[in-house]
Symmetry: C3
Subunit: 344 residues, 3 copies
């Protein structure tokens, strides 16, 4: 019996199938420290247990993206080991803060299948959840990936394309229990800008750039137990480069966005996301944001900003997302649409 995991191919998936992913993972203060070493994050809430307590939270939550990356990493051996590309995200919500000591377990349900016209690949949609040791869902999300077929002559499954929300409805955003921004300390947080200071349509150039290294993105990707070989092995691609995990760019952009969005303390949801271009060591990543929408929440003093967060290779002060042809500008790495919680 072959002992190693060859991963699933397109024809191995069926709509409705539920996959329980391996490797439960306990989050530790070591993860928080490494996250801070790998990304230039300065958001006061995950940085300071005292700040977290001052806004009503129990424990000291780690950044939401730590939970996302851990959850995502677990799905890789079953969902995307034979993927051509990670195509998109939707309906990602952060439902329960994660603190050191929590253990996350991930499972996925296949909710869509569509074979491509070339007959050699297909698109798989999965809805995944990462659950803590109290069976509370910490984060849930949908992603879709293009996966190789094992056998091009295998019959195509019935096409099922799930209906997904373009944007997580404000009514569906979950604010962490106890969160209260009425006595928010803007000095400790680092910027004075509150909900009312941001306008829909406003763009913010986050100014700072970070040049990527192979050691750092490999350490980050391993930390989440993401095993996709293109990230680690120079023999896995013809150009001898290590492709950087898309989530590394997400976290880098989020951290860079502190400069201008220091009060966007928590991510409540990711509405959509696309990795527009691959990133490699030596690239210098910058970020800019656009305010897409604003909404109130039921929590005291807490507003929600819908933000487009864009990562680019090299700084683009013009903050151009797409060219005249409607395609992403060539140096756009990431286009992420999220809801963040800010003080009102």
């Amino acid at each position: 019996m072959a002992k190693t995991n060859a991963g699933n191919f397109f024809e191995d998936f069926t709509v409705g199938q539920v996959i329980e992913h391996a490797t439960p993972r306990t989050v530790t203060e070591g993860d928080r420290a490494l996250y801070g070493a790998l990304y230039p994050t300065r958001f006061a809430l995950p940085s300071s247990a005292e700040f977290a307590a001052s806004v009503g939270l129990r424990g000291a939550p780690v950044e939401e993206l730590i939970a996302f990356h851990i959850g995502f990493g677990k799905t890789v051996p079953d969902i995307s080991l034979n993927a051509v590309a990670n195509l998109g995200y939707a309906e990602c919500r952060f439902l329960e803060p994660v603190v050191a000591g929590d253990t996350l377990t991930t499972k996925s349900e296949v909710i869509g299948l569509k074979q491509n016209s070339n007959g050699r690949t297909g698109v798989v949609h999965v809805r995944s959840t990462a659950t803590n040791q109290r069976d509370e869902v910490a984060v849930e999300w949908v992603r879709w990936v293009m996966v190789h077929k094992r056998d091009a002559s295998a019959p195509a499954p019935e096409t099922v394309v799930p209906e997904l929300a373009q944007v997580v409805d404000v009514a569906d955003l979950v604010v962490p229990e106890g969160l209260d921004f009425r006595d928010y300390d803007f000095t400790a947080a680092g910027e004075p800008h509150r909900f009312d200071d941001y306008e829909v349509g406003e763009k913010i150039d986050h100014v700072d750039g970070v040049t990527l290294t192979d050691a750092e993105h490999m350490m980050a990707t391993r930390l989440w137990q993401n095993t996709a070989k293109v990230h680690f092995n120079t023999e896995a691609r013809p150009d001898g480069k290590r492709l950087i995990y898309g989530g590394h760019i997400i976290s880098m952009a989020r951290a860079l966005s502190f400069n201008g969005l220091a009060n966007a303390q928590l991510i409540a949801a990711i509405n959509a996301g696309a990795h527009a271009s691959p990133a490699f060591a030596g690239d210098t990543v910058y970020a800019w944001s656009e305010v897409l929408d604003k909404a109130e929440t039921s929590a005291p003093g807490v507003g929600a900003l819908r933000l487009r967060l864009v990562a680019t290779r090299g700084r683009d002060e013009s903050m151009t997302l797409r060219g005249e042809d409607g395609k992403y500008a060539p140096d756009v790495l990431l286009d992420l649409d999220l809801w963040a919680l800010v003080p009102r």
Copy 2:
């Protein structure tokens, strides 16, 4: 008085000498996180406190190799600062799981001395133990190293070559107190293969490869407070390369072996080990295993597999250990013989 440590030379050692090594070291959750960032490890037991509890363990042990590397690192300033080569390991047993908060202290006894015929070097055998704050031995091992003489004209000591077991006897393996694999969760662990699924003589190509970087091996080696200068200083070797600590390759191979040996949750013993060839940044490490033996243990549901774990530079799908001349194949980096505990 010279203040710096020049290390011991061959003629400084005497059989029966006991050396208490410096720098007690408290293990933390930070070590676990860094280990996971540096090696692609996914074994469920050290990854998840919940999984560890589900198989009867108190606390949440870190990987055995963390204890081994810490213990080994402590011995370097006294034993191998003037070493030509680390020649071998034997009789290494993991006796007590190590959890965050444990403090390890290491001592060694010189158990063998043999001057080489060239008169300029000699082989030193030491038996070392790393003990926790409750005076329990966490790990013990024998290693032998070739060490320079300070003065080639110094008289040779009486030759003493210890008798060492070729393999740790099954009766001498220590299973952690409480370990019970009867309700083992194969889904969480990631593979269905149990004790009965492995056959003596079976070889497993672990498929995945990792390309090494200088930053990562230096961070790993420092974490264990191993100070051998060839690992850190490009001026220490004529070729300007930093020689990678052999233990880095051990941990890399062990982590890669997850793919095919996901249920080999614990290392109970290391029977033998040889660093067949040096490794450097840019090398891509792969691993394969061979099942050498199988044995039952007295613990409920727990079997033991004796495994040869081989790390190679570049993938060798033929899994060839030695050439026709009996020597290691040129791209073999590591040949490790160990006992692992698996569910029956």
Copy 3:
């Protein structure tokens, strides 16, 4: 309203101004582990909770430089984002040990201003304090930086140059509460040299060298939330190099000084410091020390050594600080003057 932080320029500072810096930061065991992965530190006290307890300390303090770097990092966005150079340190004292779980908050008072004769820059002196969650000052220090003017035609402020102690007076050194070196374990610490073994004027070549990498210095600098862009962005300097944070060299030199000063367990004060030359990836850092003074303290068994700690690019066995012209020798990177606590 511009959302991003442009930093303060010379004309934005006024003497007596107090700046509360952003981003309170909780210290964790992850910080200790990363510090040990990034620097070859082996001092027994911060390495071992058991050793710390054996010398009378509550909890297990992290290295003082962790508190210093965190405190320093907080000041960067307000004080030195537009700095030309970090010119010096004085009157730095470590007043309260920092343990995992402590949250540090930093503020600064402007104590000096002097416009340069070119009219385009000026020197700003600030006295900063990092305070824990019990409002105890953990570390305080003065530094002065040369900062750009926003507008060269802005009027010069009244010149105020603070009087600063050349050396922290022995009577002002604070020994951590409970510290008692009477039962000090020299074997665990790694060297036999005590207070009486060091002579004023004695120089110690610390022998070991470490070659720097970009990944490591960026991780260290981010860990302290220091955001100065020259450390991270190859597009920020004409030569495309990432300038290494001066604190990285301080910690590297301190760690290297273990070999010869293993019993200098605690830093009580930094009297002065200068970054004589910039450091870049590929440089190999060595260190040497000179004993400048010795003093008794009121704590049982505890003496103080005043040490000059010098980091160099490449090893300088002659331990030459300055050339005949009185300027720093070209490969001197750091000249640090500190008080360390050692067993008597």
